[in-house]
């Protein structure tokens, strides 16, 4: 039995908008799960329903073998970190951390000990008597974290806690959150639209889109083994390259062709394609780092149109069938704009998707 279970969870707002179309999710104790998706995909709604801030339209939320659908937020015993930090500006840092403890009827000494302990963990001992208005964004975030770990909560909910920080601070606070998780082994649900955050933090990533779950899996699954076109497009910077192509059979070999694009199909999904897709259109997706230059069996010839050096790697842009393809290279061989090259790919690293449903062809 999973620790937290969402069963056919559905949310329809009074104005008729369905934010969540019945999702199923099981989370084990101690897991760090990231809900990832573009804005409006229902990830924050899911989190707020678990916290009790939104009413459940349909379905069930089961936490620790107990249905918590209709419990007040205060009775659910979860802690939450908000996007705006939500530290109360009229209380000192000490009072902010102590407030949930007071509500839980801790004794005065217990409160002081707990606040001192968590302030130590979050390195805000020096600011306990200051007001949040006097603190920087990163410090406020630490106060929010300290407040959340001070109580012995069943669940740790984080609603885009890093999005208000500047880029550099974001990385350090990210590491800090991961440390906190590893030390406390708390069950955590983290909502973000930033895939870098998601991949850095998650034990498992839940990719969501338009109120549905697109894929659940660890970083490798979600990145290299996408379940749907949406995931392949959403994950990765730059995202995967796509080409709509028709499947034909020549001399017992399968090819996906479109204009100058001609890819020989291979790999485990070959049989499925042979069985169902001959003469039909499919979508071929190849990640930029899997596109090779001048290798065996090229699928297209193209001219380098864009060179984007990124320091550690270089991104090259080509025009294939009137769409820009991106290629990611690690070696430092200088390539000039305008150079003609042949593109190829490892057949095992090419993904195929059904054009109608957007689902992976396996």
């Amino acid at each position: 039995m999973a620790y937290l279970e969402l069963e056919k969870l559905k949310k329809t707002y009074p104005n008729g908008f369905t934010a969540l179309k019945g999702i199923d999710l099981k989370i084990d104790k101690g897991e760090f799960v990231v809900l990832l998706g573009p804005s409006g995909c229902g990830k924050t709604t899911t989190l707020r329903m678990i916290a009790g801030l939104e009413k459940v339209t349909e379905g069930e939320i089961i936490l620790d073998n107990k249905k918590i659908n209709d419990l007040q937020p205060k009775d659910r015993n979860v802690s939450m970190i908000f996007q705006s930090y939500a530290v109360w500006p009229h209380m000192t840092v000490y009072e902010n951390i102590a407030y949930p403890l007071k509500l839980r009827k801790y004794s005065r000494k217990e409160i002081k000990d707990t606040v001192d302990r968590v302030a130590g963990i979050c390195e805000i001992e020096g600011n306990l008597n200051r007001y949040p208005g006097q603190l920087s964004g990163g410090q406020k975030q630490r106060v929010a974290v300290a407040r959340a770990i001070a109580i012995q909560s069943k669940l740790f909910l984080m609603d885009e806690p890093l999005s208000n920080l500047d880029a550099k601070l974001r990385v350090s606070v990210r590491t800090f959150l991961k440390q906190i998780h590893l030390e406390h082994n708390s069950t955590t649900i983290f909502v973000t639209h930033d895939q870098a955050e998601a991949m850095a933090l998650a034990d498992r990533i839940v990719v969501m889109n338009k109120g549905n779950i697109e894929q659940i899996g660890d970083v490798t699954d979600v990145y290299h083994d996408c379940e749907s076109l949406f995931v392949a497009n959403f994950m990765g910077t730059p995202p995967a390259n796509f080409q709509e192509a028709e499947v034909i059979c020549e001399d017992e070999n399968l090819y996906a062709i479109a204009d100058e694009f001609r890819l020989k199909l291979d790999g485990p999904s070959k049989d499925t394609i042979k069985g169902n897709y001959i003469g039909k259109k499919i979508i071929v997706a190849i990640r930029p780092e899997n596109v090779k230059l001048n290798g065996d069996h090229p699928f297209a010839k193209a001219r380098i149109e864009i060179v984007e050096p990124q320091g550690f790697h270089t991104i090259l842009g080509f025009r294939v069938c009137n769409t820009i393809w991106k290629l990611l290279r690690m070696d430092d061989k200088q390539l000039e704009k305008g150079e003609n090259v042949a593109l190829s790919a490892d057949p095992l690293k090419v993904m195929f998707f059904d054009k109608e449903t957007g689902k992976r062809i396996r």
């Binding site: 916290a51 937020p73 659910r76 705006s84 109360w88 500006p89 949930p100 509500l103």
Partner: protein
């Protein structure tokens, strides 16, 4: 270079002129008003009026041997002019008290007379009873202490009613979504447009039926009508400014709705609540028209001042009454000044 210099000079001159004009337009009438409230009738008839109230007069007491009487001379611009000639000490005392606000015992005057007979002329410094106008106001305006209490009660009730109803309405408008919300917003403004007199006339009938006619509470009911709308406006904008996540955080971390409201929402909205209470206070405190309609035996202080103005030919005593009316407002504003300052844009939420 000269062009820039001239431009700057002109700009600075114009700015200074505007600043000075505003300062004069505000300060001179107030200074005149304060000064006149301390002036005696003799001073009030002088032209130009004094900017600062005087504390004493330089005077001469002269014995006229030919007529066997005495005359009082008062210095005006370095010249002594005769203001009163008489032989009777009692009539001198009356004159000093009523016209000059100088309280001098008759015996003292008789001593001065005998002294003047021997030395012919005495230099005097007549000390003014500076608060005499205020004392007279309380004597003239019968029951002004009771009126002061009535005013305070009416103001207190107005604050309580407007904050309770207006604050709740403001919170609802800020946090809840419902149909016709925009219409409700606008209709609040319409309530504010009503002249209070128009409300108070029909209200009198209901007030009489409720058996609360001629009480501060009934006044507060009328004053609250426009103030509830105003309070709802002020507080709803402040409640909107309070991030909902602050309240949600409180609920997630173990507080119920009511506790959250008490511990998080109200403290954060406190400056707005205080500012609204100032508006409610001023509306109740300064009104005399509604009080004229709605009270009989128990007038408010503003009404008493209004009546005194009508019964007085010279402005010094009504001015004193107006200053008395002003003091509680000033005290109240001073107490809450920190919160008012916060509302001017220093608030950090």
């Amino acid at each position: 270079m000269p062009a820039v210099f001239i431009k700057n000079t002109i700009r600075r001159t114009v700015f200074t002129l505007i600043a000075v004009t505003i300062a004069l337009a505000v300060i001179i009438p107030v200074a005149y008003f304060v000064s006149i409230s301390f002036a005696s009738i003799y001073e009030a008839y002088q032209f130009p009026a004094r900017i600062f109230p005087s504390l004493s007069y330089n005077a001469k007491f002269i014995y006229n041997a030919s007529d066997d009487n005495f005359s009082l001379h008062i210095e005006k611009n370095g010249i002594y002019e005769s203001v009163k000639t008489d032989s009777d000490s009692k009539s001198f005392r009356t004159y000093l008290l009523n016209q000059l606000n100088v309280n001098m015992e008759e015996e003292h005057i008789r001593n001065l007379m005998s002294e003047a007979k021997t030395s012919n002329e005495i230099d005097l410094k007549l000390k003014k009873d500076i608060f005499r106008n205020y004392k007279i106001f309380f004597i003239l305006a019968d029951g002004s202490i009771a009126a002061l209490v009535n005013s305070l009660q009416a103001a207190a009730w107005t604050i309580v009613i407007s904050l309770l109803l207006g604050g709740t309405a403001g919170y609802t408008l800020a946090r809840m979504n419902f149909r016709f919300k925009e219409t409700l917003n606008l209709s609040l403004l319409v309530v504010r447009m009503f002249p209070v007199v128009a409300i108070s006339l029909p209200m009198v009938i209901y007030i009489m039926k409720m058996n609360v006619y001629d009480t501060p509470f009934s006044l507060a009911l009328v004053y609250s009508v426009p103030n509830i709308a105003l309070t709802a406006w002020i507080t709803s904008s402040i409640f909107k400014g309070i991030n909902v996540e602050l309240e949600e955080a409180s609920m997630v971390f173990g507080a119920g709705r009511i506790k959250t409201f008490q511990r998080i929402t109200v403290p954060l909205a406190f400056p707005a609540l205080v500012a609204s209470s100032l508006y409610a206070f001023l509306a109740a405190w300064n009104d005399s028209i509604v009080a004229l309609i709605m009270t009989n035996e128990n007038p408010t202080l503003a009404l008493v001042v209004y009546r005194t103005v009508g019964s007085s030919s010279i402005s010094n005593i009504p001015a004193a009454g107006a200053i008395i009316l002003l003091i509680p407002s000033l005290v109240f504003t001073f107490i809450i000044k920190n919160y008012i300052n916060q509302l001017w844009g220093n608030v950090q939420i």
